[in-house]
């Protein structure tokens, strides 16, 4: 069979005999781009609410929603774990840097923060794969599970899954951790300077009580919002992490769809990811009012 091939196995469509022109046309009809603007808008809204993104242009022609649904849990799991790790590490680090401003600890975390911001994550990822995957052979290089995972005993399955997550999660948390610990430190510094903290100290309360009970609680408030706002950043980072580590999540799906110009998948992905962000912001807002009962819905607009 004679064919024109991209010759690059990564890009999988081979423009074979009748190179189809269909996709873009289908896309136009699917999204009614031939209709007047207000009709388009209305139809679009309707489709989004119904989560109807149509079918993929790929030969399997599967519904976009199904394709996303099988990948969403993976991306979500990764991001939730990342978030937990970030919070768990960034809060103590931030608090310690703030309470010991200008100490060696503070200075070294500052350096870490700046390096964390500046390290290209894809570069870090490849370095870690080579070091821990090939040289030391301690950790799996890519994927989510061993190919023969089904045949492992239960605990080995769990360990196998966890070990596959270590490298990608390390890479994904690296930048975020730097940002959060910095923010936490800043937030803590502001609070410590406040009058009520000073007066708590003046009352002779133990330093740990001052920090733990009065300062920390108030310093945490803005963090909750920031956490919600940073979700898009984390999910955005999964594009690169999932591609390098061959993790079948939404980021990888997005990259493939872009390469293949699979427009329904691109649009579906975008909408779902945006909805996730909205949801996360909502949760953050609710949590915010839970932590601080003084705050009522009316005052939130200030943010």
């Amino acid at each position: 069979m004679i064919h024109l091939a991209p010759g690059d196995p990564v890009q999988i469509i081979q423009g074979d005999v009748p190179m189809e022109l269909q996709p873009l046309k289908e896309f136009y009809i699917l999204y009614g781009l031939d209709q007047p603007l207000h009709v388009q808008y209305w139809n679009w809204l309707k489709r989004i609410v119904m989560l109807d993104f149509g079918r993929s242009f790929a030969p399997h022609g599967r519904p976009v929603l199904t394709m996303i649904a099988e990948r969403l849990p993976i991306t979500l799991t990764l991001n939730v774990i990342e978030m937990i790790i970030i919070v768990a590490l960034a809060i103590p680090v931030g608090v310690m840097s703030a309470t010991r401003q200008y100490s060696t600890f503070d200075k070294s975390t500052t350096i870490f923060v700046f390096v964390g911001f500046a390290t290209p994550d894809f570069w870090l990822a490849v370095m870690l794969q080579i070091f821990f995957g090939v040289h030391l052979g301690w950790l799996p290089i890519s994927g989510l599970r061993l190919p023969v995972w089904e045949y492992l005993p239960f605990w080995q399955q769990q360990w196998d899954f966890a070990s596959h997550l270590i490298l990608p999660i390390t890479v994904a948390t690296f930048g975020g951790l730097a940002g959060f610990s910095r923010y936490m430190r800043q937030s803590m510094l502001e609070v410590i300077r406040q009058d009520y903290v000073q007066s708590a100290r003046a009352k002779g309360l133990a330093e740990s009580v001052v920090i733990g009970k009065h300062a920390l609680r108030n310093a945490l408030l803005p963090i909750v919002t920031v956490l919600g706002l940073s979700l898009p950043g984390l999910i955005g980072g999964s594009v690169i992490v999932e591609t390098i580590f061959a993790i079948p999540g939404m980021g990888q799906l997005m990259v493939q769809a872009v390469f293949e110009r699979d427009y329904p998948v691109i649009m579906g992905n975008l909408v779902i990811v945006a909805s996730l962000t909205l949801l996360a912001n909502l949760i953050a807002d609710l949590t915010y009012s839970l932590i601080d009962p003084r705050i009522r819905v009316g005052r939130r607009g200030r943010r």
């Binding site: 069979m1 004679i2 064919h3 024109l4 091939a5 991209p6 010759g7 196995p9 990564v10 890009q11 999988i12 469509i13 081979q14 423009g15 074979d16 005999v17 009748p18 190179m19 189809e20 022109l21 873009l24 079918r55 790929a58 030969p59 399997h60 022609g61 599967r62 990948r71 490849v126 370095m127 870690l128 794969q129 080579i130 070091f131 995957g133 090939v134 040289h135 030391l136 052979g137 799996p140 290089i141 890519s142 994927g143 989510l144 599970r145 061993l146 190919p147 023969v148 045949y151 591609t243 390098i244 580590f245 061959a246 079948p248 990888q252 990259v255 493939q256 872009v258 390469f259 110009r261």
Partner: protein, 554 residues
């Protein structure tokens, strides 16, 4: 669990130093050898899992409607055709036991192998063959292979074990048509009738074929699992499971290979030549090298008056040093192309005009065509400098390098080349189909049969057709027509030799090289029989001797 390649133990923690001290050069002083006896007993044994790697996602599990290599690789194990091509590219029976041409070359009668069963236990019959044909030619089936069947007059089942095919004219490639995957009528018929073959469960979650392996599981973007088919007509395959891991990056796949996370992949020239020559690797893997089935070329839009002038194309052929391109891009792992046929195949001839690297001659030819050096040595004609855009597809490093080397070499000549890379889909849609390009670096995958009507015939230059350079030469048309309508090999040889002569003279494209395919397979796998057709023919006969089996599971 994982036995990594033993590398020099590294104390340095700095990641950077690490990459520098890579274990590619030597891997001596190993702490742990791969547990593999050097002289293993080569008795076939059942069992073990073979972990293959795919760089692309699966796009469909009905090969008839897809054209990507990953889907075809998997589909090829699940499905089978009436005929197959052996390691030397000779046709052999698969689901057909034998076949016969009629005297006028227009009819082909297949005698089907008795007792073949679909994976669900139903018998495979002549009706399935007819159904497969009807599916492909059905207007609502999105099959890229429709045009291959344009000359079929009818396909008829003459009893459960006999199929008769008739063509409207003698068709040299007739047998090729029937190497296509046979589809199960009893499962797919209702979807095909409704024009919804893509939505059939067989396309994604439950494919049923007659091949050596049965489908077990597909996890999108992660893996495909196949298990051996105990009822396969040629006996149960030795290796009991095949897992295809989907790893969308060649760099990651190579790291996985070194960490023994996959058993097979295809190497790049650099990996083959310079990254796999250490003992541990050679111990754990077997490298192969066979001529690949495609050539890389620089094509010109012949509608562009500059390129319509044959002297310009010939000048470029002289100015671009093919040896240097092959050395630079493939580290020598390729064969120079003199035309569209692979050296070493029956149709190939080297008695054609060649274009040795010769800048003086190139300049002379260009001067004849009216291109003379102007200021700064740039070639000018009618006050305009010779500048063109060279397009290629994004993600193919090799073609990018070809473009970059050609750019540098043509600059010596005073021609300015601007390189642009685009994603494959965009390149096809926006540029190739609309004939909106000046020059391209691309590759043609060639088939087993020498018929290249669709590429060179002047009738094939419509927007959706493959003669996208708009080549037209009446004598070429004649040769192509004659070559495809006879089934006498000696006659075809004459036509195709003449075709190669004209193409070499005309240089409608700069034929650059045929790359070598460089597959690598775990050395615990035995029974690999390489040939001009590669290593995959009859891979169901591969086996892992008992003591070497790595995955006891399954």
């Amino acid at each position: 669990m994982r036995a990594p390649f033993p590398c020099r133990p590294l104390a340095a923690v700095a990641l950077l130093a690490l990459a520098a001290a890579g274990c590619s050069a030597d891997a001596g002083g190993s702490a742990e050898r791969l547990s593999q006896p050097s002289a293993a007993p080569a008795t076939p044994a059942y069992g073990d899992t073979f972990i293959d790697s795919l760089l692309g996602n699966i796009s469909s599990l009905i090969p008839t409607i897809t054209s990507d290599s990953a889907s075809h690789e998997v589909g090829g194990r699940i499905y089978s055709g009436l005929v197959n091509f052996d390691k030397d590219l000779n046709p052999v029976g698969d689901l057909a036991e034998s076949w016969e041409y009629s005297a006028d070359c227009r009819e082909l009668t297949f005698k089907l192998r008795p007792g073949v069963k679909w994976h669900d236990g139903r018998p495979f019959t002549a009706d399935d063959v007819v159904f497969t044909f009807e599916t492909i030619v059905d207007a609502r089936t999105p099959s890229p292979y429709k045009s291959e069947y344009g000359l079929v007059e009818f396909v008829r089942a003459e009893g459960p074990g006999v199929v008769r095919v008739r063509y409207t004219q003698p068709f040299a490639k007739a047998l090729m048509n029937w190497a296509t995957a046979m589809l199960p009528k009893h499962l797919l018929e209702k979807y095909v009738r409704e024009g919804k073959i893509r939505e059939a469960p067989q396309n994604w979650s439950a494919p049923i074929g007659t091949g050596p392996y049965k489908f077990k599981e597909l996890r999108s973007g992660e893996k495909v699992v196949l298990v051996s088919n105990p009822d396969y007509w040629d006996g149960r395959p030795y290796i009991s499971r095949i897992v295809y891991r989907i790893i969308p990056s060649q760099a990651t796949t190579f790291l996985e290979l070194k960490a023994r996370g996959v058993d097979a992949t295809a190497l790049t020239a650099l990996q083959y030549k310079r990254q796999t020559n250490y003992r541990a690797f050679e111990h754990a893997y077997r490298k192969f090298n066979h001529p690949g089935n495609g050539y890389t070329y620089i094509g010109f839009n012949l509608k562009d008056p500059r390129f319509a002038d044959r002297r310009v194309r010939q000048a470029f052929a002289h100015a671009i040093n093919k040896r240097e391109v092959i050395e630079g891009v493939r580290l020598g792992l390729a064969r120079e192309a003199t035309g569209p046929y692979k050296p070493g195949t029956w149709v190939y001839t080297d008695k054609v005009k060649t274009y040795p690297f010769d800048m003086a001659k190139a300049r002379r030819l260009l001067a004849e065509a009216g291109w003379r050096p102007g200021e700064g040595g740039l070639l000018m004609k009618d006050g305009k400098p010779f500048t063109f855009e060279l397009l290629t597809n994004q993600g193919n490093d090799e073609r990018k390098k070809v473009a970059e080397i050609a750019q540098a070499q043509l600059r010596e000549l005073g021609v300015t080349v601007e390189i642009r890379t685009l994603e494959w889909a965009a390149l096809l849609k926006e540029h190739i189909k609309k004939r909106n390009f000046e020059a391209i670096v691309l590759g043609w995958g060639i088939g087993i049969d020498p018929d290249q009507f669709v590429v060179w015939h002047s009738s094939q230059s419509g927007p959706d057709q493959l003669n996208h350079i708009s080549y037209a030469n009446p004598e070429v048309d004649q040769m192509l027509e004659a070559g495809r309508t006879t089934c006498v090999r000696a006659d075809r040889l004459k036509y195709y030799h003449r075709l190669q002569e004209i193409l070499a003279e005309d240089q409608p494209l700069l034929f650059l090289y045929f790359s070598d395919a460089l597959p690598v397979v775990s050395s615990r796998v035995y029974g690999i029989d390489p040939g001009p057709n590669g290593i995959r023919f009859r891979s169901e006969k591969w086996f892992v001797p008992q003591p070497l089996q790595r995955y006891t599971a399954g």
